[in-house]
Structure formats: C-alpha cells, structure tokens
Amino acid sequence: MFFHIVLERNMQLHPRYFGRNLRENLVSKLMKDVEGTCSGRHGFVVAVTGIENIGKGIIRDGTGFVTFPVKYQCVVFRPFKGEILEAVVTMVNKMGFFAEAGPVQIFVSNHLIPDDMEFQSGDMPNYTTSDGSVKIQKDSEVRLKIIGTRVDATEIFCIGTIKDDFLGVINDPTTV
C-alpha cells in the first residue's frame, strides 16, 4: 500500500556545500539518501514530494559538518499481510516463482500455486495448467495475495499466494 507521510531526518552536510545553494544541496542530498531506502516501519521510500521544514543546523565539532533536521513529505510503499498486489514474475524455478511489485520482492512457493499448475522445466521454466491455458513464466503479470512479510534493514521480502479466487495470471506476455 502506498502512503503519503511526513518523515524526519537529520541530514549531515559537508561544509563545502554551504553557500547560496545550501537548501538545494540539502534537498538533493536528501533525495539521494532517502529515496529507494527501506525501513521496517514505513516500507520503501518511493519519492520525496516536498520539504515541510528545515530546522536549524548544528555544527559538529571537529568535522565542521552541519546537521539539519529536515521534515519532508514522501510517498512510501509498504506491503501488508493480506494485501492483494499485482506483480511481475522475475524468476521461475521448481520451488516456486519470484515476482516483483516495485521494489518489493515476493516469493510464491509452489505450495501456494494452485495444484493444477505444474512446473515445467526447460529453457523457459514455467508453471502451466494441465490444459495449457494458463502459464506463469518470466515477465508474466500476476495478481497475488501477500501472506507473510519479512522486513530487513534494506529490503522487504514477502511470501505470496495465488491459490485463491481471482488470483493468478492477469497478463501473459506470450499471448500479447
């Protein structure tokens, strides 16, 4: 799920940036630092949308670095248990397949793939129904439900299922 929230961060700025463009430098550094990161609480920071407030900087002894408390608005993406997501399959193997929804990697175990889908190894490994009508392979788009998440410092890893009503392939690249 996406959220638009306000976060705060203490930015350390090198003295060489002091000057007219300090604010710009600060913002660009903030974006560079923050976008694409992941925190367990908020999920992935997708984009910084605005600056609420930049506090007074404190000069650090010894280094000359200045610490600014910066409040910024940003869009974050955090997957939740039970959430339905659409994702692109990135890899298929006999244990299941990996899919990505933006920055989030989701693994769908073969236990969580409908039983009528069988793994077909080969050049392009895939899961296919017995009648061959549905096929999950690399680059397929699937709708899945997240049943578990694990949050690391740097990534969120999810377990998903497509063994439920209305879940499964929504767009097959091979048929397009």
Partner: protein, 1033 residues
C-alpha cells in the same frame, strides 16, 4: 553393604549370582520376606536381559525363527535353557514366587548358549565352596553379621511395611546429615561392576574391618562407582589394594543429590499402537519401527519395519543350501517384493492373522505391503526420545496411506519440558475438543491451559499437552529450535498437519520441519549468522591463503565460497581455519577500465555466469564477489574475475581512450602494461612508494607481489624484504639487508609490514615485468637507507591528506570513487587545477605520480612538476621532505638533488652501463621527462590533442605547439596534463631519460616494456625502457 546398591542397580548375571550367594549363606530367611517383591523384579529383568542377548545371537539365523519356528535345534536349546534356568533358580527357590512367569519368559527367549550359562553355574557353585569354610568356622561371626544386618535394615523394614506411605514419611527417608555419605570413586572404565563386586568380596572376606556400608555400580555411569560410608578414610581403606581403583580421587556426593544417584527412571513405557519406536538390537538396530500391536501381558509388541532381507540369502537358506554368514553385512532396508521373492523360488504363503488381516508369509516372516511385521520383546525396542527423520517417515508413508495425523501425533510423546510457552498458538488434535484452536495461557505439569479461540467457551481450558500441537499459519515467520534444521528461520508457506514447509530466509529454499520443532519468532533473524567474529557474507582469508565468502553458517563451521573464478568451489571450514576477515576497501577495474568498488552493480560478461548481474560485495585480489539475489546457489554469491565484468552504467569510451594510447604503444596486445611502466620506474628510484602504494596490485595477478613482508619462519626468520614473485606456494623475497633474493614458503611470511594496499589491478600481466628483475635487484640495497629515514614516514603521513585533497574538489558526491586510485586520466582532465597547463601530456604518468604530487604541500604544479621528474627516478622523498624547499623551482639538473638524497648517489654509477639494462634505470635521475621536439598528447578539460613540445619553461611547464607537426597554436601545459606519445616500431624517438638523454634514435623493436633503440649518434643498439622513449615530432 552391597545388596542395597546391587538390588537397585539393575541386575546382571554377576551381581545376581553374588547376591544369590549372599542370600543363601547369610540371611536368606530374613531377606526373603524383606525382598520378595524386589526379587521378582530383579529376576524378570534378569531374564529379559537374557532375552536381549538371545535376540542378538539369533539374529542371522533369522528373526522369523523365534516367532514362528517351532522346531529342531531351537527347541532343544529351549529345553536346555529350561533346565539350566531352573537349575539356576533352584538355588534360591525359596525366594521365587512366580515360577510361571519365569517359565514363560524362558519360552520366549528360548535360546541360551550353553557356554554362556554353564560357567556361571560353575562359578556359582564354586565360589560358595571356597568361601564357605571361613564362615563355617566361626558361626558366631555369621550371626553377628546377621544381627548387624538386621540392625541396619530393621527400620527400613518397618518403613516398608507401612500400609500407606505418606509424603511426609517418604521425606523422612531421605538421607540426612547423620546418615552415611555417598562417595564417588573413580575406577577403570568398564570395570565398575567388577569393582563393586570386589568390594563386596572384600567385605565378605574381611568382615567388619571394612567400614563402608555399600558399593554401587551404575550401568549408565562409566568410570565411577559409589561407595557408601561415613568417612572418606573408610572409603580409602576399603579401596586400598583394589586393582581397578586408581587415583585417590574420592568425591563426596552432596546430600541433595544422593537420591538422584539411585533413583531409577521409571521404565514404564506407554506403548500404544502407532507409536514410533526404534529397534535396540539386531539387524534392525536403530531402525525406525511402528508399533502395530501391543501384548502387555506377554510383554511383546508387534512392530512394522522396513525389511532388511537379502532375498538371495533367504532363498539359499530355505532351499537348504549353505548359507555363508557374513556378520558385518547388513542388508539395506528395502520393501519386500513378493513377486521378486517368487522369482527366486521362495515360497510365499498367504495367511491371515487373528484379526483377519492378510499377510504374506515367507519362511516364517510376515509381510504386508512390503513391510515386515515382527513380534519382539518390549525390551528390545526403545520408545524414548524417538525423533524420526523425514526420510524415515517418508518411507513409512510410501505405500499409500497418506499422512496420518495419529502416527505423527505420537511423536509428541517425547517432547521436551517447556515445549509450550505462553502465547503459543496451539490446536487440539485429540479428544472432544479436536480442532479447537487457542493460545497457551499457562503450562502445568502435564496440562496446558489454553485460551480458546472460539467465544462462548470458558476463559481457559486445561488440555493434556499430548493432545495439543503447535499451530502455524502460512505466512508466519518462525524459527526452528530443534532438529536438523535448528537455527534456521523462515516463513511458513504450507502447513501439512504437523509438518511445516518453510521458505528459509537465508537460502530461499524449502525446509520441512515438524511444527513441534518450531517457534514463532517475530525477530527477523536469518538463522545463525555469526560464529566468533565471522558473519555470513564476510570475506575471509583462509589458512592456505585462499579466501572466500561465507555463504552459510552451520553449527561450528562455515561454508565458504572460495575465490576461485570460473567454477564455484565451496569448502566447509572450521572457525579455526579462518585466518581473518578481510575488510579492505579496494577497487579494481573492469574489462573497460571502469573502476569497480564495493556495492557497484556489475554485470558478468564472461564465463559460466555470463549475464548475471548484481552488486559487488567484496573485492579481493582482482576477484569480485557479486551478490545476485536471483542466483539460488551459494546464497546468491558469484565469484568472478574483475576482468570478466563490466560496471553497469560504466562507459566504454573511457577505456577506449586508454586503449588508444596503448595501441600507440607499438601495437601491444596487452594494454595493461603501460600503466605499469611508470610504476616500475618509481620502483626503481622510489622504493618506498612502490613498496607501499603499489603493493597489492600493479604487478602480477597476486596481491602479494611487491608487498613488503617479514619472514617469520625458517632460516630467514626476521628478515624483511619485498616480494618479487609468487611461485605457487613459494614467494621470492628480496631481502632488504642482504643483497639477495631468497625463496620462502608463502606461509612463512607475514605481510602486515607494508602500508595498506590501495590498488588492485589483476589485469597487469606479470610477464612484462619479469625482464626487470635482474637489473632491479642490485639497485635495491642502495635504496634502503634512503627509504627508511625519509620516505616511509613521509608517505604515511603525507599520502592520506593528499588523497583527500585530490578527490574532494573533483568528485564531491562520490567519495567512494577515489580518483586518486582511479588511474583514469579522464577524470583528471576535468580538474580545474590542470587548466594552466598546455597540450601535450602523457597518459601514463598522469594518473599515478603526477596526481599524487599535484596536491603535495609543495604547492602548485609548476613547482611540483619539476621535482616529480627527478624524484620519480632518483629520490622520491625529497620533494616531500619538509626540509626540502619544495616551492623552489627546480631545474632539470640532477645534481641538485644529490646532496639532499644520498640515495641518488649510488645509483648514478649505474649509468656506466654494466649491462644493457642498468643504464636506463641508473640514469633515471637525469633530467625531466619531457623534452623539446617530442610529440605529446595533451589532455585538458576533457579534450585531448596532439602537440609538439617547443620549449621547457623554467617553472617546469612546457610550451606546446598543437598539431602533430607543431604548427598549431601554442599554449603552456603542465607536465601532468601531457603524456609523451608512445612510439611504435620504426618510429623516430627521442630518449628522455638515462645516460643517453637527449639522444635521438629509431625504435627498431619492442620487447615487453622495453624498446630496442638504435641510437642515431653512435648507431649503437640499446635496450631502453619504453617509458623514457618519446616519439619525435
């Protein structure tokens, strides 16, 4: 004395017989009533023991025999046994109260090998005989003993005869401070019983002299016996002279633990159908079996096993052919295939058992669905702590039946204490409340209080813990706390009754575990990831100087993916085999000379892993460890040569330019040589620099080459020197203090002497360097004095700030990319500091030396330029020395440096030209690099142009006329911005250094980094370093 101990400590023929003796002779009557019950137990256990043996002996004969065979030899044996047993028991017939049971047992365990029993009986008869006389001699003494015994056990008897014993009374029986103490005495392993019996014998022989009360040998305790006595001295006295007791260590058992010594774990096994058990003895020893029927009266169970039957042997046997007995051979477990048996002409009968179940009977053995159904004594199976592995269960499940909950639930009979914890989600699997989910609230002894999930039920329900199973849902994050996968964490993807399928966090593989072995863990761990200082994904140096990344942490050991490119090599190493963690931040160059540092995303363009892509986790010795999360093997790590990778987003052109430059270098196929040349130079005249800065790279594929090392073993122990070459496990080290190169085992050196390496450039071929060795060697000794006082301290002190300054202005946003190490002239061109310069420059000197000096305290480039020229060849330190007037414009006069640097002096004679090589190097200190009339490449502000040097200005810069013939515009350039155009074969050249400096000539050939030059003036042919040759305009 010993009865008490013996009696509790379960039976054995020997004890038994000893006791028999005791009773017979001394206090049989008293003992009789006293011990009626105990006796019975003892005997039956004795027999069971026997039965075990029987089973064992009987094994190869055939297991079926004992159950179904009624004939021949066995029955004879049985008869014999009956006789022998009754003989045996006759001696104490008065004690026996339960003959029937005994008979029965005897029947079951019909075979007793005669040789087993007879001697015992002899013993039995023999011992009393020679023991009797003394006792008979003084009857009074006997009576005294009897009295004392009565005294001692009198009160016990009273207690035992209490109708009902209350807890308090039980408490009163516990040992107190006034009671004799229990001492633990060390004895020979395996001689515990013997020792106890010896003490017993001693007591019998010596009577009251011995002041110990009892001696106890426990079956489960090796190496020790217990002796009950009031004082340690009594124990010592008693043990004196016993050959099995050595070492005078006698330990007191604390009162509190005394009861534990003798408490016997209740053997009451709750065997039910479908319990998993393991066979204790015989062919099937250790095999998993499932109980199908229990006969509590006869103490027998029928179990289902996977047969281990050698059909051929069976066929042979049934046909009466000779059976070759091979004791060591145990047939592998395999399901019985009736058709197969028929093929071997084994008769297969169909039978029905009491319940009407159909069995295939082969030679007295019963089979069903391929399983063997075997009836055995309860004693011969163990039901405690059975933890079937998945494989085993899988096999049992194989023919049909599917996963039956009941059978799995019996596994829980052996759960540890504290299995359920408050808050655990559980589900009831048995009884009326089956399928009720809830959470554990409180755990009592056997009962677990759960808070049911369904409303309308009492707040908590007490449920027997055996009826409960932990409950998980897909998506739960759990941690495995016991079993083979202990320590792993993962997310549940599927729940199959009591089996969970997890996706491991670390390996992304499926793991099957029992729900029982798992706890829900909100903590997100990746299993055990750390032992000691080493963590998963660390780059470590191993014992044999190989290195690798830890890809899995197991208990006590690591799996390490070794740094061998092309083929993944995984080794299991113990903690002690790891030398250290490698935490250096190094950067290398990819195929197109883009710099790769840690965390850069690279793509593999060569080798088996071609096409893979991922961030670089570690760099070491030109090897990259790339983490590709899609790579399922080796925890996602791929080990690959830096050279077969390309930085994603890196430019090709970058490299191309260099490539061009190299191309000009007389068309050498191997571009890397060029950057090496200046380094070689600096090594010649600039020893500390090469020792430090270029260590670890630059020359040779091995990081060691060039490193300053100390020999720590062998005849050269303590010597310091530089590594010249690495040859397998040996290194050639040039000793500093002696003028020689020695070969030392690689393991015998330490290389922590040198400054940290900064450059890792595996691509530089070693070959190019080799020709240098002979000439270089004699030079080094001279340089040593110079290095020690001056260079080294300066370097350490100076280099770091210098570096900082070098990159800060140019690359403010990416400190990780250290331009200074970059070796990429392009980035330098962009630097504003170069602006004042004028066109021609030489790419190969720009990156390394020039860059360094650009920011020395010496000041601007015009000054820096000149000292560089000299210092590069002769006395590097001097410009850095604070005392040296760095700011002073220096002219290309070598003499001016000589006074300040003794190092320069010895080298000068080199110019005399002892051999072909030495003049070149020796004469390095002559003059600056660039000279008028030579063709140079000028790069400034990113653009590159060719020009001709017109004039050398006094401030060290050059006047350069652009254009290849020098007719373009004229500008002033700093040396750092220029590099001499590398001559190709048959180009006209000018020699820029050495004794022949200033001479012109023709390049008639190129040999590695040396050029073969025909000097115009003398028409001599000289071999000179290419670096000092410049193309003439």
């Amino acid at each position: 004395m010993s009865h008490r101990g013996m009696d509790r400590d379960d039976e054995d023929d020997e004890d038994y017989e000893e006791q028999g003796v005791d009773f017979d002779e001394e206090e049989a009557d008293e003992e009789e009533e006293d011990r009626g019950g105990g006796k019975k137990r003892r005997r039956s256990s004795y027999i069971d023991d026997d039965a075990d043996e029987v089973d064992e002996d009987e094994e190869e004969d055939d297991d079926g025999d004992d159950d179904y065979d009624g004939g021949g030899k066995t029955s004879r044996k049985r008869q014999y046994k009956k006789v022998s047993a009754s003989n045996f028991f006759d001696e104490e017939a008065e004690v026996d109260t339960d003959d029937e049971e005994e008979e029965e047992e005897g029947e079951d365990d019909f075979i007793v090998q005669p040789d087993n029993d007879l001697p015992e009986e002899d013993d039995n008869r023999g011992r009393p005989r020679h023991r009797l006389p003394p006792h008979q001699e003084d009857h009074e003494d006997l009576e005294a003993v009897a009295r004392s015994i009565q005294e001692r056990y009198g009160k016990h008897r009273l207690a035992e005869y209490e109708e009902e014993t209350t807890d308090v009374e039980q408490q009163a029986l516990l040992p107190s401070v006034r009671d004799p103490k229990l001492w633990m005495v060390k004895c020979a392993i395996g001689r515990e019983r013997e020792t106890a019996v010896c003490l017993l014998q001693k007591y019998i022989d010596k009577g009251s002299e011995l002041q110990i009360r009892s001696a106890i040998a426990l079956d489960h305790l090796k190496n020790y016996i217990y002796v009950e006595a009031d004082k340690e001295a009594h124990v010592r006295e008693a043990c004196k002279g016993l050959r099995n007791i050595f070492g005078q260590k006698i330990t007191l058992v604390p009162i509190r633990e005394m009861t534990d010594v003798l408490s016997v774990e209740s053997k009451a096994i709750d065997l039910a159908r479908d319990t998993w058990v393991r066979m204790k003895i015989g062919t099937y020893k250790g095999d998993l079996a499932k109980v199908v029927d229990v006969d509590n009266v006869r103490q027998r169970v029928t179990v289902k096993l996977i047969p281990r039957i050698d059909l051929q042997a069976l066929a042979n046997k049934l046909e009466g052919r000779e059976v070759v007995k091979k004791k060591a051979f145990v047939p592998p477990p395999r399901f019985m295939n009736v058709d197969e048996a028929r093929e071997l002409h084994i008769r297969v009968e169909h039978r029905r058992d009491a319940y009407g179940e159909r069995f295939d009977a082969i030679g007295g053995m019963m089979f069903k669905d391929g399983f063997l159904y075997k009836t055995v004594s309860i004693k011969s199976i163990s039901a405690q702590n059975i933890k079937p592995t998945f494989d085993e269960l899988e096999k049992f499940r194989k023919p049909g039946e599917g996963g039956d909950v009941a059978s799995l639930s019996t596994l829980f009979a052996n759960r540890k204490k504290g299995h359920f914890m408050k808050g655990d989600a559980v589900i009831v699997v048995k009884g009326d409340l089956k399928n009720l989910k809830g959470w554990v609230e409180k755990v009592d002894e056997d009962n677990v209080h759960i808070r049911p999930e369904i409303k309308g039920l009492p707040k908590t329900l007490a449920v027997n813990e055996r009826e409960l199973v932990k409950y998980f849902e897909p998506g739960n994050h759990v941690k495995v706390v016991s079993g083979a996968q202990e320590g792993a964490t993962g997310m549940v993807v599927k729940v199959e009754q009591h089996v969970l399928i997890l996706i491991s966090d670390t390996t992304k593989e499926h793991i099957r575990v029992f729900a029982d072995d798992v706890v829900e863990s909100s903590e997100v761990t990746t299993g055990v990831t750390k032992i000691g200082d080493y963590e998963l994904r660390d780059l470590v140096l191993l014992d044999n100087l190989s290195f690798g990344v830890i890809i899995r942490v197991e208990s006590e050991a690591f799996q390490v993916l070794k740094g061998v490119p092309d083929r993944p090599e995984v080794v299991l190493v113990k903690l002690r085999e790891i030398k250290c963690k490698i935490e250096k931040k190094i950067s290398v160059q990819d195929r197109f000379k883009n710099t790769i540092s840690s965390k850069d995303v690279v793509k593999i363009i060569d080798g088996p892993c071609r096409g893979k892509q991922g961030p670089v986790e570690h760099i070491y010795r030109g090897i990259l460890f790339i983490f590709d999360r899609h790579h399922l093997e080796h925890a996602g790590f791929i080990c690959v040569k830096a050279h077969s990778c390309v930085v994603v987003g890196g430019s090709r052109s970058n490299g191309d330019r260099n490539g061009d430059a190299y191309g000009r270098f007389s068309g050498l196929k191997n571009p890397p040589r060029i950057p090496q040349s200046p380094k070689r130079f600096s090594r010649g005249g600039h020893p500390s620099d090469s020792g430090g800065r270029h260590r670890g790279g630059g020359r040779g594929h091995d990081g060691l080459t060039g490193a300053t090392v100390k020999v720590r073993q062998g005849s050269y122990k303590g010597y310091r020197g530089r590594v010249i070459e690495v040859k397998g496990t040996f290194v050639r080290v040039e000793l500093e203090s002696q003028m020689k190169v020695v070969t030392v085992d690689r393991n015998h050196i330490t290389d922590n002497v040198a400054v940290t390496p900064q450059r890792e450039t595996s691509r530089y071929g070693m070959g190019s360097e080799t020709p240098m060795h002979p000439s270089r060697t004699p030079l080094h000794p001279y340089m040593t004095p110079m290095r020690d006082p001056g260079a080294t301290p300066i370097h350490d002190g100076m280099r770091t700030p210098m570096r900082d300054r070098a990159w800060n202005p140019y690359a403010p946003m990416s400190p990780a990319r250290d331009n200074w190490e970059d070796g990429n002239p392009g980035s330098w061109g962009a630097s504003p500091q170069y602006q004042p310069g004028s066109p021609p420059s030489r790419s190969y000197e720009a990156p390394t030396p020039g860059a360094g000096w650009a920011s020395t305290p010496g000041g601007n480039y015009s000054e820096a330029g000149t000292p560089r020229d000299s210092s590069a060849y002769a006395n590097a330190p001097s410009p850095y020395l604070p005392s040296t007037p760095g700011g002073q414009p220096m002219t290309p006069n070598s003499a001016s440096y000589l006074p300040g640097t003794p190092g320069g002096q010895p080298m000068t004679p080199g110019t005399g030209g002892l051999d072909m090589m030495s003049p070149v190097l020796g004469g390095d200190n002559e003059g600056p690099w660039l000279m008028p009339d030579i063709l140079v490449n000028v790069h400034r502000a990113g653009e590159e142009s060719v020009g001709v040097i017109k004039e050398v200005l006094p401030d060290g810069s050059y006047k350069v006329a652009l254009g290849s013939s020098g007719n373009g515009e004229t500008l002033t350039a700093l040396p750092a911005e220029m590099e001499a155009v590398i001559p190709k074969k048959s180009d006209k050249i000018k020699i820029m250094g050495g004794a022949l400096r200033g001479s012109t000539g023709k390049l008639i050939g190129v040999d590695g980094t040396d050029g073969i030059v025909k000097v115009d003036d003398t028409l001599d042919v000289k071999i000179l370093d290419l670096v000092i040759l410049a193309k003439l305009a």
